[in-house]
């Protein structure tokens, strides 16, 4: 398992998934594209959750990325898929840089509610802005890749699938490296005890702000991917239910593993698609039952299936010195 989490191995897995797209049925390509795009934004929520904060308003950056790309595509005719993902990431990241330092002063429910409020402010503004299509939004053209235009629907779907899987995969590799880094460990420390972090001479707010900006970058890129898949954008991108869906993926995944985010996103899409297909009137019920089951049996998320095993395996055999001391009166 350890070798699979090496960045080189992860890049190999990403490449494998891209090639797999060549043999997958056409309908699974669009499902996997959506799952990859959703897991990218959920990965950002997981990055943020490692500091103990949950954003209920990632739709803000998702919409910022989507609208930014859509406006540039329609104004300047920039249709290259890779460039669009990068522009989406930059748009989300720039907005994150403005909001992150301010919002990092808050924690817990205040943090979550503020993110939600900000996303709904954007939603309200977008609905009222007729220049951006108001509540109907507007369309964008078909994406291209390095100057190649894809007229065959199967090829267009495969291109989009590849771009989504590669973008999300690279974000996953980056997140894995980040989780193991100094800042990654410090994020867990902030989550556990932010005051102690301050007593060690480290700014807990700064750590939260950094993670917030990373989450915003991922959300912006995810917005760009969704835009390319739908070729349409509207204020729903910033709506609270859209943000809530990404939080669901993050909760399913837990905060301990990058791979779990992809598994959770794919699982959620599969459950949603199949329950919608076979139980069209009660699919929400099936989805709810699935979520409840995961929360009940895997309270730390799907990732805890393999990360908790790893932790237990690290215990030494020798008894700890001082183990005979008594517990303090706490």
């Amino acid at each position: 398992m350890k070798i699979l989490s090496h960045p080189a191995a992860m890049l190999g897995i990403v490449l494998g998934f891209v090639l797999l797209g060549r043999v997958l049925p056409a309908w699974t390509l669009s499902l996997a594209t959506v799952a990859a795009s959703n897991s990218l934004i959920a990965l950002g929520i997981v990055v943020l959750a490692r500091t103990g904060n949950v954003s209920f308003g990632q739709g803000l950056f998702y919409a910022a990325g989507g609208y930014g790309v859509a406006l540039i595509a329609n104004s300047w005719g920039l249709t290259d898929a890779v460039a669009q993902v990068m522009i989406g990431a930059v748009c989300g990241g720039l907005l994150g840089l403005v909001i992150g330092p301010l919002i990092s002063r808050y924690t817990g429910i205040f943090f979550g509610m503020l993110t939600l409020a900000l996303s709904m402010v954007l939603y309200g503004a977008l609905v009222k802005t007729t220049a951006l299509g108001g509540s109907d939004g507007f369309n964008v053209g078909r994406p291209t890749l390095f100057g190649n235009v894809f007229t065959d629907p199967r090829e267009a779907d495969f291109m989009l699938y590849s771009v989504s899987v590669i973008a999300t995969g690279l974000a996953g590799v980056a997140a894995t490296v980040y989780f193991r880094s100094e800042l990654g460990l410090m994020s867990l420390a902030v989550r556990a005890n932010n005051l102690r972090v301050e007593y060690l001479g480290i700014s807990a707010n700064r750590i939260v702000a950094i993670n917030f900006v990373i989450a915003a970058v991922f959300a912006g890129a995810s917005g760009a991917l969704s835009l390319m898949a739908q070729r349409h954008i509207d204020p729903q991108f910033a709506y609270w239910t859209t943000s809530g869906e990404f939080v669901f993926v993050a909760i399913l995944a837990g905060y301990q593993s990058v791979a779990a985010v992809f598994v959770a996103s794919l699982a959620l899409e599969l459950v949603r698609s199949f329950s919608n297909l076979y139980l069209p009137n009660t699919w929400q019920l099936v989805l709810g039952a699935f979520l409840l089951a995961v929360i009940l049996f895997l309270p730390l998320g799907i990732g805890s299936l393999w990360t908790s095993t790893k932790r237990k395996g690290s215990e030494p055999d020798a008894p700890a010195p001082g183990a005979t001391v008594t517990e303090p009166a706490e």
């Binding site: 102690r196 183990a323 009166a329």
Partner: protein
């Protein structure tokens, strides 16, 4: 020579409660000072004021001649004061080594890295050296949630030592440690701490520990210093026996 810590006219009230009443304390470098006093006497308030967690109502706090009374705990830590806590403040999901690595990472002058592994060889080695000094090497890879209270206390002290502070404040380092182990634990702490921080202030209720390890004792009562001097002198003081030790020695 400039003292490590100089406190002048320090006052702090919580409503009607006087937690620090015109405190004047000077601590030269190299001293091991023990703060004693009954619950509510103002010992922990003093520690919280010095470390920036509480802001004084009036008065001056200086670290090596530099005013720190209005600084945040983060800035005070960067200037050279570290502390441990009565109830250990650890990162409960992390291992003992990871806890110390976080503390070591905080001592860097350069920004924290996005890519450099937290458990890079040099940082882990430094953490193991610190844990080893306190006899905790075998616990390095155990989550602190699994450690006994006294061991957690030592991990907390190891974290405070990571910055090689000019002044180290230890809040009841032996509370929760069994009677048989308290001297060996304190021996380890003093031995480990004196290698880096010459000046130590420790809050203590155990008078055996105080007489054995302190060069100087400050006896607190109702936010005031009741007595200040060598342990033998202070612990024989009639007021200290009456209000603080209850005639313990």
């Amino acid at each position: 020579m400039t003292p490590v810590l100089a406190v002048e006219g320090l006052n702090k009230r919580f409503g009607a409660v006087v937690a620090a009443d015109n405190l004047n304390i000077t601590i030269p470098a190299g001293q091991k000072v023990s703060l004693i006093g009954s619950n509510g006497a103002g010992k922990t308030t003093f520690v919280n004021l010095v470390t920036g967690y509480l802001k004084p109502d009036s008065g001056k706090i200086e670290l090596e001649g530099r005013a720190i009374g209005k600084q945040s705990p983060r800035d005070v830590a960067r200037l050279g004061i570290s502390r441990s806590f009565q109830i250990p403040q650890l990162f409960i999901e992390l291992t003992a080594a990871e806890n110390v690595i976080v503390a070591i990472s905080g001592t860097k002058a350069s920004p924290l890295s996005f890519t450099s592994p937290a458990e890079a060889q040099n940082r882990r080695e430094q953490a193991l050296v610190l844990l080893d000094r306190l006899g905790l090497r075998a616990t390095a890879d155990r989550p602190v949630s699994e450690l006994a209270g006294g061991v957690r206390k030592l991990v907390d002290i190891a974290m405070a030592m990571a910055r090689r502070p000019h002044l180290l404040l230890l809040d009841e380092p032996t509370s929760g440690v069994s009677a048989e182990e308290k001297f060996s634990t304190m021996d380890r702490v003093i031995q480990a701490v004196t290698q880096d921080a010459g000046t130590i202030v420790f809050v203590e209720h155990d008078m055996d520990i105080v007489t054995r390890y302190a060069d100087r004792v400050l006896a607190f009562y109702s936010g005031r210093i009741l007595s200040d001097g060598h342990p033998d002198t202070v612990l024989k003081d009639a007021d200290v026996r009456r209000y603080v030790t209850g005639g313990a020695r």
